[in-house]
Structure formats: C-alpha cells, structure tokens
Symmetry: C2
Subunit: 361 residues, 2 copies
DNA sequence: TTGAAAGCGCTAACAA
DNA sequence: TTGTTAGCGCTTTCAA
C-alpha cells in the first residue's frame, strides 16, 4: 500500500492538515487535548510517518550529514571514529551518509557533489590515519576535518596529539628505569611518525639520556618490518643494545614480539615494549598483552560531529584541535634486566609478570 | 551565498525552467544544441547543483538506501561488506545511510523509523557475523539481509557457506597427509560454529578418518582461548596428539601459534594450522603467515546491495544465498611430522618452509 | 482553537 | 523546440 500522507491523517481525524502538523511536531499548546488525541489515534491507524524529504524541502534543512572518508569504514583500523560520529549524530537527531572514496579523487569529487545535492546540513572529511590533506574543491567551508589537518588552514579539524602520545609512551619506559630506549619507526613519513619521534626525543632530553641515532630505526609498517628492525637492534653489542623499544604502531610491536620470542627473550623481563594505536584484536591479544598508546578515535569522531552540528562551542575557532592519546598499561613493560650480568636462568612461567613491574609506577 | 535554484539558471540562460530541467537530465534531443550549451554554461556560472531533496519529493524516489547494522562499521571485522555495498550503490547512483545500532533494539527501532521517514528506496539489514536473526518490526518486506538469515524466512539474504568453508579447510589438511586433525571451536554457538563443524565431520568421513571426540575442543573466542585449547591438545599422548588443527577463527589460530612456539614447536613442520576469516592485519602477519578460509565480505556486501537495488536477477527468490568461502593458502600447512620418531633436530631457519610442503597439492 | 493557502525546488503533462 | 503550470508532502503565516 502507498505511504500515508498528512492529508490522510487529517481526513481520518476530521481536522485540517495544519492541525495534524501542529500535533505531530508538538508545537505549542494551541491544540485542544481532545483533538490532539484524535489526531494521534488517526495517525496510528493509518500508519503515518512524516516524510523527511518533504520536510527537508520545506525547511531547507535535512537533518542529515555527510561523512566522506578515504577508507575508514572499509578497513579494520579506525572504525571507532564512525561510532563516535554516529552516536553524536543520533543524539542530535541527524542521519549520516557514509561515503568511502578509497582515496580516489574522482569518486571524492562525485561524493562531494552528491552530498551537496542532497543538501546535507554538515559535512565531515575523515581520514583513516592522521594526515595533512589538501582541501578538496567544492567542500563547504564549514566542513570539519577528522583525523586530518587541512594543508591550507582556515578549517576546523581534530587530530590526535601524537607528539604528546609519543612522549607518554617513552616516559612510561623511562619511569620503568630504562635508559637505552629504541624507537622502531615506520619508513614512510606520515606526520604521526615525525610527531611521535619528537615526543621520543623530548622525553629522552628531559631524562638526560643522550639520543643514540642507532636506536632510531625505520622499517616497513608491518609485523615483518617490526621484526626485522628488532633483529637489527637485538644484534647490537650488549652495551649498546636497547632494553626497551617504543614502536610506531602495534603491528610493528607484534613483529618485535616475534623477534624476541625467536631468540628466547622474554617480554617484559628481557625487553620492554610499547606500541601505539591500541588496535582492537591485536594489542590486547599479544602474549603478554601489549602496553600501548591509544588513538582516541571514538572521541575524535564525536568531537567532529558535535562541532559540525554546532552543538559544541570549542569548535568555533578555525584551529586544529589536539586530542589526547592515553597510555594503555598492559604487561609488556617492566624494569630493565640487570645491567652487567646476562640473564642466567629462564623463568618457569612465561605468563606471570615479575612483581616489581606491576608496582613500578 | 544561497544555493542556486533551477530558476536562477533559467533566468541566466534566458530560458524556462523546463528547458533547464530537460538539459540537466539529458532528456531526449528536443533541445537545440545551442540552447543546451547556453544552459550548461549558465548552470556553471551560477554554480547550480540540482536539489536531490526536491527531486526526491517530486519523483517519490530518493536514490538513497539505508544500511542498518549491528556493528559492522565500528568494529574491525566486517568492514569489507560496507565496501562491497557502497561500490554497488555508487555504481548505481545511490547514496547510503549507514546506521550502526550497536545491537540496541531501541536504537534499531528508531533507525528503521528514521530511514522510513527518509523514504529510502531500499534497505539492508546487516550483521557483523553470520547469525540467525528475528526480523525486526517495521522493516520493509523487501529488505535484504546481509550476513544473517531471518528466522522467519520469506526474505532475501546472503550468508557465507560456512559448511563448505569448514570442509575446504579440513580438506586442505587431509590433502597434506594429516589424519589426526583437531577442531578448535568457539564455546559460543553461532551458526557458523555448527556449520563449520559439519564440514569438518563430513571431510573426515569422506577420507575414512574416524571422528575422535577428544579432538573437538571448545574455548573462548580469542587468542587466549585458542592457546588454552592448543595446550590441551598438545598435552595429549603422542599417538592421540593432533598433527594439524583447524581453528574456528584466525584469532584462535593466533593463540595456537603462541602455544606451539612456547613449546618450541615449529609451524608447519611440527603442527599445521588452518584458520578462518582471513582477518586483515592478523592472518597474513602471523609467523609463518596463516593459511585460512576467507569470508567473502566484499562479495556479500555487493550482492546484497545489487539485489536490494533490483539490478541482480538471482536475488528474486526469497531464499538464502550461500556465498563461497575461498581457502587462502599461506604457509601454515605442511605434511605431518614423521609418524613414529619424534622430531629429533631443530631446523636452523624458522622462516623457510620445507620444500615438499610447497608442492604438496 | 482551528483552517486556508503559499511555497520549498523540481519534473512532466500539456500547450504553444 | 520551448514554455506554463500542477503538484510531490510538508510547515507556517495569516485569517477566522
């Protein structure tokens, strides 16, 4: 059967469409309770649901927002951003169009066009990982950038505070007593790589630890890369070999685990490691569970949507909002092994942490 | 500045709105080439983009589809379904509303209402993993179910062929020469668990291998669970210990890797393992890379969208469409170790496969 | 307290 | 080949 219209309800209730509209939108009290009841009843019996399309046309306000992303929806990485954005949208009565472009510029242009045609009330431009991006032509000026910073400036955007995150990770290791701390970095150079490295250097300086360039190694961004880098590091002579490793991300950290275990090294007894990303289904499932720095994906998604919808004041400045990356403490960090003596015995259990590590900070 | 309307273009080009509409929609040839040019030009200069809202109201057809899911967008698991659905939508000129309900029924009801109000042309109801679901009230009859099967029947749906997938996995092991093949199953009982087990039993029967109940063990669906189950299995006396393990999913398989490596067992020399899901960032990054069965997420997403949009004929029957789960051959399957003698030496390299395994099938 | 009617931007039937 | 106009379903101003 065809959709019920407002006039059907009006006819059924024996009132005008104005009255029905007034009742359905809970406008003022003008309408008598009795009429109100009658209209409600009629609406229910004819199965009436107001058309958002007609309403949108009339109001020039669709309660709809477009989210353009490179790949966040189709990749296992940053989906929590979507959750944050969606929750905020729903709480504010908005629906979201999700368009993944796969990084294709033609598709991106088409997406912007389609969303504009759809008269979305707001737009969000999201990236899977923290990047600096060119502002695509045709994007409305009020577009909010999520997990990326527009090259040009003059737009609202939110990104993780990777510098502070890198610092926090390394501080974790310094606090556990480490002095020879390596940074296994990606061999691409996303801005996150640079920023985390800055944090690393900053904390070493803070702690009076000289920066040793041989401890900063780059490799492919994968478990394989992490493993290769770790092998390099662990082959260093005793006095220069790191007792702890900070990894660009959890995948590379997983590679460090493999390298360490292949050598019969125990984490964290023989080597401490800290990752980055707190990637679901990866970080927590390492053995032992990986201490890492979380990317605040959910919070960023929510922030972006709230700013886009104008329900969050702080988004008013045309500045990049930095969001904190919290350290997630699990079991891969402990004190450094005794300085001189090599480990001379293997612990019986590999799942237990040395007690001093648990209370170290 | 305000949005340009069709009448603005008409005025600028000195023609009627009809003409503009005709030109913009490439209708027939009626319009002279010269006028056509003029209109195009005018549209460009005033920055005109037709309003999909007005068009949708007029045509009672929004070129919009709603995708309701439990959590696929916000979880690292089944995002590829979205990619398939989106690609198909885009190719057919449709936009998709994505609504993740997080499994909350109130949110789900609200989502259905909102999508109905939005007059979407089609709806897809998707689950993160293969399940049997109750059909939510209010869902249009033509809704397509993605990665789930409606309890009630009478709807179009697509799910992975988990029975055949389980069979394929085990067949892989049988073909490599294994006779003692364990199944590390989840301790929940999703339909996929049952189906994959059926496939397992079927292939054993096919190969004339008696089913040994001690080789079917259930555990928590995680690396930890997989590890515990593997420990159980590997503690079995020699003559009953499995030489190969089929795991309910890749996460559990990762746990098997941990258990094996902790015992100094080499995969695949001492133990072969096959996973399920081909989970991105997990299966391929194991050491050695995990042979597994892929869930055809992208294909299922595409299928669902094409059927929902009516551009795929086979979706006409009100039946459940089974989609093949292909085996992804990597390096975790080899021939069983020599039957009687225990492995008496360790290979020097752990990354190399025994050559016979590579050519085994 | 309620209703009539204009108009949101577009398409398409009909007229010229 | 082009233009006039009704109407998609709704909200809202103005009048009763």
């Amino acid at each position: 059967m065809a959709r019920a219209r407002i006039s059907d309800v009006a006819a059924a209730a024996g009132v005008s469409v104005t009255t029905v509209s007034l009742v359905m939108n809970d406008v003022e009290s003008r309408i008598s309770d009795e009429t109100r009841q009658r209209v409600r009843e009629a609406a229910r019996t004819v199965g009436y649901a107001p058309s958002s399309v007609a309403r949108g046309l009339r109001a020039q306000q669709t309660r709809t927002v477009g989210l353009i992303s490179d790949q966040i929806a189709t990749t296992p990485f940053a989906g929590r951003m979507l959750a944050g954005a969606q929750d905020a949208a729903r709480e504010n009565g908005h629906l979201v169009y999700l368009l993944d472009t796969g990084g294709d510029e033609t598709i991106e242009r088409e997406a912007i066009r389609a969303l504009t045609a759809q008269q979305v009330d707001a737009m969000i431009y999201a990236c899977m990982w923290h990047r600096v991006v060119d502002v695509p032509q045709g994007l409305p000026a009020q577009t909010v950038f999520l997990d990326c910073r527009p090259e040009a400036g003059g737009h609202r955007s939110v990104v993780p505070d990777d510098r502070a995150g890198g610092a926090a990770a390394v501080r974790e290791l310094v606090a556990a007593g480490h002095r020879r701390i390596a940074y296994i970095d990606t061999d691409e150079t996303p801005i996150a790589s640079t920023l985390r490295h800055e944090g690393y250097v900053e904390v070493l300086a803070e702690a009076g630890i000289p920066v040793d360039a041989t401890l900063h190694v780059r490799a492919e961004t994968s478990a394989l890369g992490g493993r290769a880098a770790a092998d390099l590091l662990l082959d260093l002579p005793d006095e220069r070999r790191p007792t702890a490793v900070f990894c660009f991300n959890d995948r590379m950290a997983a590679g460090v685990y493999i390298a360490a275990h292949r050598r019969g090294l125990d984490i964290p007894r023989d080597l401490s490691v800290v990752g980055y990303d707190d990637q679901q289904l990866i970080a927590a499932e390492q053995d032992p569970p990986l201490t890492t720095v979380a990317l605040p994906h959910y919070a960023m998604g929510r922030w972006a949507m709230e700013v886009a919808l104008g329900v969050r004041a702080e988004g008013d400045e045309d500045a990049t909002h930095l969001m904190e990356c919290p350290v997630i403490r699990r079991d891969s960090v402990g004190p450094p092994p005794a300085q001189v003596a090599k480990p001379n015995r293997r612990r019986a259990s590999h799942t237990e942490r040395p007690p001093e590590a648990a209370t170290d900070r």
